[in-house]
């Protein structure tokens, strides 16, 4: 199997900030790679370099066999891009938007029109086809934008944070659509901040931080890399949370995470059930009232935290602070 995307030592700097710091990877044809990382990790920059929107300061990359620097136009005929912000024209209808994209892929008038109708049907937008995009919901905009990326049936697709800003239902529907596209044999490079999204859609996940790849593997491989299980407890007061943190340090094989708001504590352990039994016993002796207790497999959030030392999608600075 050959590679649909290759990147070797990509470097991109914005003044003092290094967005890409020698990033290398490849994506075999017909597979899905998710770039996982927080804002500013270099995910979008990677997509922009690979889709020829941005020239890299160093390194080289090919997509569908074409070089991003020297063969940009031929490369562009083989890719579809759907960005973080829906790249559609608000004043144009859904059908007009897709037709315009078809014309710009040089499909010709007739094929562009037919293809637009086909995609509108596939994305369940037939009813809205002749209404300006301005009146579309967030989910509909995402769908029309994604449809725009598929107009020329490109063998390589780039989706930059496809579900950002969508409600859970719209997100689930979008995931189904993406899964269908991938099942048809396209290669997909996806960026996301959501572990769940990477877990759901990708064959391989590459964790990116500060413009560097810090881990790569399947979701299961990454979870195994972090190892063991997690004890997750909910106590009844902030004082008890602190007591629990001190007492359970003895069991921990990695960083203990506490979330003061929800009085939760997560402890990575090796021998799960035995550790849980002992922990509960000791806490009971110390008079700590445990409201909820459980044992779980590590999530990709745990993977991320362990690998980077900071949380991936945690927007709450306090919760993030508490994990240090």
């Amino acid at each position: 199997m050959s590679d649909a995307i290759t990147a070797e030592g990509l470097v991109k700097r914005y003044g003092e900030v290094t967005a890409l710091d020698g990033l290398s990877f490849s994506v075999p044809e017909g597979t899905v790679l998710a770039l996982l990382g927080p804002n500013g990790a270099g995910k979008t920059t990677t997509v922009r370099v690979l889709t020829t929107l941005l020239p890299p300061d160093g390194g080289r990359a090919t997509v569908a066999g074409f070089d991003v620097a020297g063969q940009a136009r031929r490369l562009r005929a083989r890719i579809g891009l759907s960005g973080q912000y829906a790249a559609v024209d608000e004043h144009l209808t859904g059908a007009e938007n897709l037709e315009m994209v078809g014309r710009l892929y040089h499909l010709g008038a007739k094929r562009s029109k037919a293809r637009a109708r086909e995609l509108l049907e596939r994305f369940d937008l037939t009813d809205a086809a002749d209404r300006p995009v301005k009146g579309y919901s967030g989910g509909m905009r995402r769908r029309i934008d994604l449809a725009g990326a598929l107009v020329a049936d490109p063998p390589v697709l780039f989706l930059d944070e496809p579900s950002t800003g969508l409600d859970p239902r719209a997100r689930a529907a979008l995931w189904d659509t993406i899964s269908e596209i991938v099942a048809a044999g396209s290669t997909l490079l996806l960026t996301t901040q959501y572990m769940e999204e990477a877990d759901h859609l990708a064959d391989q996940i590459m964790v990116v931080d500060h413009g560097r790849a810090i881990a790569r593997g399947t979701a299961d491989e990454l979870k195994d890399q972090v190892g063991g299980n997690r004890i997750e407890l909910t106590v009844t007061s902030a004082a008890e949370l602190e007591t629990a943190r001190q007492m359970l340090a003895w069991f921990a094989v990695g960083t203990i995470r506490t979330v003061p708001e929800s009085l939760q504590i997560t402890v990575p352990v090796t021998d799960g059930p035995e550790a849980l039994r002992q922990a509960l016993g000791q806490l009971a002796e110390a008079g700590v009232r445990v409201r909820d207790a459980g044992l779980r497999r590590p999530t990709l959030d745990d993977v991320y935290l362990t690998l980077t030392g900071h949380q991936a999608s945690g927007s709450d600075p306090q919760a993030q602070e508490a994990t240090r």
């Binding site: 922009r48 889709t51 020829t52 929107l53 941005l54 020239p55 136009r73 031929r74 562009r76 005929a77 890719i79 579809g80 891009l81 960005g83 973080q84 912000y85 829906a86 790249a87 559609v88 024209d89 608000e90 004043h91 144009l92 007009e96 315009m100 994209v101 014309r103 710009l104 892929y105 040089h106 300006p132 725009g148």
Partner: protein, 267 residues
């Protein structure tokens, strides 16, 4: 498709998109149709009731100036629309397509030229209603409108350049207003500039707006022997100097705008 036809074909696709957009956005349509009507009425009746031009009616003197003013303002749509598009992701989509990169600016300027044509037609009709007449041959009149449209097209590239340098609609509008008002008022568009104090008179004589206005007056025959003509070189040779201005604007600003576009979208 080759390197020569692709910018034209793609530019036309983009121009069609912009034309649809203009048809659907009342604010742009309003700017294209309502402004000319208001301008003609306002200047013809407000200024017209105070200002007197020797040997001819003020409205006949005024209309070519109003045409130039309308073109100057309409051409700013190009810059303004570009700054709006820059705020959205649409340029990323365009740049990820195998289209000619130059097509975006070509399409934008061409569709704005069509809008300018529509606005000039509305204006000419309004002018005829308030008493403006063409006193030359139909051929020269067509040349007059042709010259105005060429100016409109060339000036679109100037506003595109400014817009791509500034990148936000707010700052673009500020600069556009600050520059276009003095350009319009320190000129011979609304009054006989030979009566201005020396400094203002010299500025007015060399102001391209005066040159275009003078050229339009000559081509439409809205001149009077009783009106003192300036000795300034650009006004003595208004038509060739207008063409020179158009050439200079295109030669300087087409490549400049194209370069700035590439820079603006690959940040």
């Amino acid at each position: 498709m080759n390197a020569l036809t692709m910018p034209i074909v793609d530019g036309w696709t983009i121009a069609k998109r912009n034309t649809l957009k203009i048809r659907r956005s009342p604010d742009l349509l309003g700017a294209a149709v309502m402004f000319p009507i208001v301008f003609v009425l306002m200047f013809a009746y407000v200024f017209g009731s105070v200002i007197h031009v020797p040997g001819m009616s003020y409205r006949e003197f005024l209309l070519p100036g109003i045409f130039v003013q309308a073109v100057l303002i309409s051409a700013q749509t190009t810059g303004y629309t570009l700054t709006l598009d820059l705020q959205k992701g649409i340029f990323d989509r365009f740049r990820s397509l195998p289209m000619a990169p130059s097509a975006v600016l070509i399409g934008q300027t061409v569709s704005d030229l069509l809008m300018n044509l529509a606005s000039l037609i509305v204006m000419a009709v309004m002018g005829l209603i308030v008493g403006w007449r063409v006193h030359t041959s139909p051929f020269e009149a067509v040349l007059g409108f042709g010259l105005l449209l060429l100016f409109a097209y060339a000036f679109s590239w100037v506003t595109a350049t400014v817009a791509l340098a500034l990148r936000t609609p707010e700052s673009f509008n500020n600069i556009a207003t600050m520059v276009s008002f003095p350009l319009m008022f320190i000129s011979n568009a609304y009054l006989d500039s030979s009566k201005l104090p020396t400094v203002l008179r010299v500025v007015a004589e060399w102001n391209p707006v005066s040159t275009f206005t003078k050229a339009a007056r000559e081509l439409f025959g809205n001149t009077s022997a009783a009106l003192k003509t300036s000795d300034a070189w650009p006004l003595q040779h208004a038509i060739p100097v207008s063409l020179l201005w158009i050439a200079v604007m295109l030669i300087v600003f087409v490549p400049l705008a194209t370069r700035l576009y590439k820079k603006a979208v690959s940040a």
